[in-house]
């Protein structure tokens, strides 16, 4: 093991979370390496310091809580898979529900069906996206053998023509497009630039990919008659919904109106 590999395992070593075999390898390296040994010592010191934090004491607010519980009816709506009622209302309501229902959404764990690396990689993508959409694209592209594509090449690799090549909404232009071999499927991803300086990533992929967004609060709404998952990611929104036989996921919308404008461009009206 080299220092880089060992340093990545130091927390797990400290916390006793490594298998016996790996722990022995890491410990052996640490014993003979002053840098790694020093890093482990600092981590230990941090743990020790954490135990010195004062313990805040909660006041007893049961009476107020009990009163509020008595004044509000328990939630009786049928919960969907995400613990959130499907809505047949306007998108403005959905934005409010992200705040109101986000907690409920977290009550049920999202089950990851793909590799741990997938969840981690997409989390990295989402964090990077806030700083630089192109850098975020590079993160995924590097990890999943991304190939830069034109419409023709994308169609050849995917056996379908991605929805964005049907056209882009006014005020948006195509910066780059990749086909990536993600664990879930061979996935299309494009980076769009909007005239106001914002960036949007558009994914077209097979099936729902709940694990992409991890624990982030989400709600499910109907957009153009299609069930659409709306996710709050710090300062921006993501949305995912069926688009023909596949799914379309957009990342980076500034608000619900932008989500609606983009999805409406590629997804035909469906249902009442």
């Amino acid at each position: 093991m080299n220092c880089r590999e060992v340093q990545e395992q130091l927390s797990a070593l400290l916390d006793g979370e490594l298998s016996e075999n790996v722990a022995a390898q890491v410990a052996s390296h640490v014993e003979s390496c002053p840098d790694c040994s020093e890093q482990l010592r600092v981590f230990r010191e941090l743990s020790r310091l954490a135990t010195s934090l004062s313990t805040p004491v909660a006041s007893n607010a049961w009476e107020a809580l009990s009163s509020e519980l008595a004044n509000t009816a328990p939630s009786s709506e049928a919960l969907t898979r995400f613990g959130i009622p499907r809505l047949n209302s306007k998108w403005a309501v959905a934005a409010g529900l992200l705040l109101v229902c986000g907690t409920v959404g977290l009550v049920l764990a999202f089950q990851s069906h793909h590799s741990h690396n997938m969840a981690e990689a997409f989390d990295h993508f989402l964090v990077e996206f806030a700083k630089s959409p192109s850098q975020a694209e590079a993160v995924l592209s590097t990890m999943y053998e991304g190939q830069p594509v034109t419409a023709t090449k994308a169609e050849r690799l995917l056996n379908y023509r991605p929805a964005i090549y049907r056209g882009l909404p006014p005020d948006y232009s195509l910066n780059s497009a990749y086909v990536m071999k993600m664990p879930c499927c061979t996935c299309f991803q494009a980076n769009l630039a909007s005239n106001d300086g914002g960036g949007i990533a558009v994914f077209e992929h097979n099936g729902e990919q709940d694990e992409w967004f991890g624990v982030r609060p989400s709600t499910e709404v109907l957009c153009r008659g299609m069930p659409t998952r709306l996710v709050q990611i710090d300062s921006y929104l993501a949305a995912s919904c069926p688009c023909g036989p596949r799914y379309l996921t957009i990342v980076g919308a500034k608000n619900v109106e932008e989500v609606e404008r983009l999805l409406a461009f590629w997804i035909p009206e469906h249902g009442p």
Binding site: F43, L46, S75, F110, V215, S235
Partner: protein
């Protein structure tokens, strides 16, 4: 199946007399699930210190009480949804953290509390007179909230990686890498504040 043993919690359970009913027994949870107000009270008493402590460290003292209250409202309104497939503690912490993140978004870009300002204004040498645990409090508030939550669940709540993953909805492998990152970033912030490890 209800977990009966929580080896990663035992250390903390022994360390605090304030919440000796922690983690709450299955019978306490079931009674609260039945809507019995006394049962809810028992569950509240078993959990309130833990909930408040996590909220306090995540969001600061000004909002910790409100977050705690909102957490318990959510807990009791949705407790019938808790099926025992995960540990109750991780289910509970997940709600606490979500309330914290929601509040943070509602108050976007407002400092958690005034210590942040103090940190930015500190003079070289002043930090020497600051207790190391005070520095850690300041540093935690500068740490990315996602990383802060992982650090707190590990170092304050003493959850194992699997339990942290349950609470945050991420794989244990991701917990390991993020915790490593949290510790490194915290180390950097602390050193910038004058900490000498």
């Amino acid at each position: 199946m209800w977990p009966n043993e929580h080896p990663n919690l035992s250390e903390t359970a022994q360390s605090s007399a304030l919440d000796s009913g922690w983690p709450p027994a299955e019978e306490v949870i079931r009674t609260a699930q039945g809507g019995d107000r006394q049962g809810q009270r028992r569950l509240y008493d078993a959990c309130r210190e833990r909930v408040y402590r996590l909220a306090y460290r995540m969001i600061g003292p000004d909002d910790a009480a409100d977050v705690s209250q909102q957490t318990f409202l959510q807990v009791f309104r949705n407790i019938t949804q808790f099926a025992g497939q995960s540990r109750f503690e991780t289910w509970l912490f997940r709600i606490v953290l979500n309330e914290c993140f929601q509040l943070r978004r509602r108050r976007a870009r407002r400092p958690a509390y005034s210590l942040c300002v103090d940190v930015m204004d500190h003079e070289p040498g002043q930090e020497r007179s600051t207790d190391a645990s005070d520095l850690l409090e300041m540093a935690l508030l500068q740490l990315d909230p996602d990383l802060r939550s992982i650090f707190l669940l590990r170092e304050i709540e003493h959850l194992g990686y699997e339990a942290i993953g349950e609470a945050l909805g991420i794989p244990a492998g991701t917990v390991a890498s993020r915790l490593n990152r949290a510790r490194r970033e915290l180390q950097g912030i602390l050193i910038a504040l004058g900490w000498e490890p």
